[in-house]
Subunit: 300 residues, 2 copies
């Protein structure tokens, strides 16, 4: 690549963060995102949090722009040799009030190393407390629609990567119905860089659109105490994934990032019950049966 | 060592588990421990759980006796070359109902490798939601009393190891007021083996005695909603430690152990709040000030 593009990327990603906050505030109708800008030795960021909304229990949208020396641990985690790096990204998780509304997660990020290499990463994935096949299918079609504008291979490749990544081996469960995920795509030149930059930007824009639509459709449906309890148990799984496997969390904590911002992925409340086994034929049990890799959600 | 001692150790550890359950049932006065024996390819175990007691919200006491091939990942975690291993241990965590009563954790374990080496590990540590200096001092004196019966260096060495191990770098906090912890002590011969076997057994016996006394003293004290909320936030830290750093949890999950038994360390409910900062001069703030390494609790 030669020329550093980090400032351009950081600037557009920052706008994507603001746009997502605006759209989600409108969708929630009551609560507002707080703004907390932070500066540390490693760089700076803007943490935006919405808590105790009408429809959203907790939403976090982080932007950061950092640079520094790779530690050997970070280098190992990223599969790279040591050196200087610069990185910028937006990451977000939303925990809804209603157990009938899914948890959603989005991340877009850009890395540059001092050896001239650079790459994009990111994705969007959905974690329903109760899997709704029609919703999962609609969600995957939305993702495919955006992917197809940039590369006809993106959806199938990144859908598979999401299945593999958002997986809890100790539970033998996927985290949810997946989505798209890509770890490191290196642009082959300036044109390819623009394509990938636009693609990650498009994902960042699609994210609040998708969630606003789901919130509008499902937030006002009645739910029971039992469904709320199940939501807390499923949030426990979310905590397990994020602390045991999530590379962003591990990388962030290991690199001396802002702990409160990184752990905004934690739900407001999570519960654990010993051997909580849903009844045969229940909706909870049906959900467990659908937490599998390689489901073709689009043609279900 | 030559001769395998795993059966003798497993048999006594199993009795220690039963004794702890009996004493804790008496202390709780209402709830009983369930029994769930499990068998997997790797070995067998007995999981005992008490939920929704009068004083204890959730207590788990696991016994296991397993053997198998070291995977390369396990070997790396244990700092050993690969080969066959056998292991037995008791581990326990108790989450009380009252925020004024601390969380407690105990683990004793014995490992043998097919190259003839063997070692003991274990410890007891206390995690108050509100640090009570007198209680912490009393707790450390109890531990020192037991340590001193076996080796006058044990307490100071293992107290330091507990401080170092039960630490959350991303929070710059110790998990609680520490206790004793030792990872791998290899017996130098048969006499030393007996000493270490007796020492770990003594810790396993001390554990329910200490906790019964604390429960008796503090369970009936009144507490507020605010104190209960703080308990949930502190439990969040407990979850963070166990999933991010606890070697037993990581080793157990990586070795294909029983997930439900391993994750019994999770609290029934944990909460996360963004930048929850206690007021200056509050008891919550005083507790944060005391979550530090190298406090001489005995001579405080």
């Amino acid at each position: 690549m030669g020329k550093s593009m980090i400032s351009e990327v950081a600037s557009r990603y920052r706008e994507i963060q603001d746009r997502a906050c605006e759209m989600l505030e409108k969708a929630d109708s009551i609560a507002k995102f707080s703004r907390n800008s932070w500066e540390k030795e490693i760089g700076s960021g803007m943490t935006r949090v919405l808590e105790n909304g009408a429809k959203i229990e907790k939403a976090a949208i982080n932007f950061s722009h950092v640079s520094g020396e790779y530690t050997s641990e970070m280098a190992k985690m990223a599969g790279r040799s040591s050196g200087r790096f610069a990185a910028t990204g937006v990451s977000s998780i939303i925990h809804p009030v209603s157990p009938l509304v899914p948890i959603i997660h989005m991340n877009i990020r850009y890395f540059e190393l001092n050896d001239g290499t650079s790459w994009f990463g990111g994705g969007i994935d959905l974690t329903p407390h109760y899997v709704d096949k029609a919703e999962a299918s609609w969600f995957h079609k939305k993702l495919k629609g955006t992917c197809d504008l940039y590369d006809l291979n993106f959806y199938s490749e990144f859908k598979k990567q999401a299945d593999d990544y958002f997986f809890l081996p100790h539970r033998n469960e996927t985290r949810g119905v997946g989505g798209v995920f890509f770890d490191q795509i290196e642009p082959s030149g300036m044109e390819d860089f623009e394509k990938l930059f636009d693609f990650t930007s498009a994902l960042g824009k699609l994210y609040p659109e998708i969630y606003s639509e789901i919130l509008g459709k499902k937030s006002n449906l009645d739910y029971s105490e039992k469904e709320k309890s199940w939501q807390y148990v499923r949030r426990g799984r979310y905590v397990e994934f994020n602390l045991l496997y999530d590379r962003g969390t591990k990388f962030g904590l290991a690199s001396g990032g802002n702990t409160e911002s990184i752990l905004l992925s934690m739900p407001p409340q999570a519960n654990w019950a010993y051997q909580y086994l849903p009844e045969e034929g229940s909706l909870e049990n049906e959900t467990l049966d659908l937490l599998k890799k390689d489901i073709d959600w689009i043609n279900l």
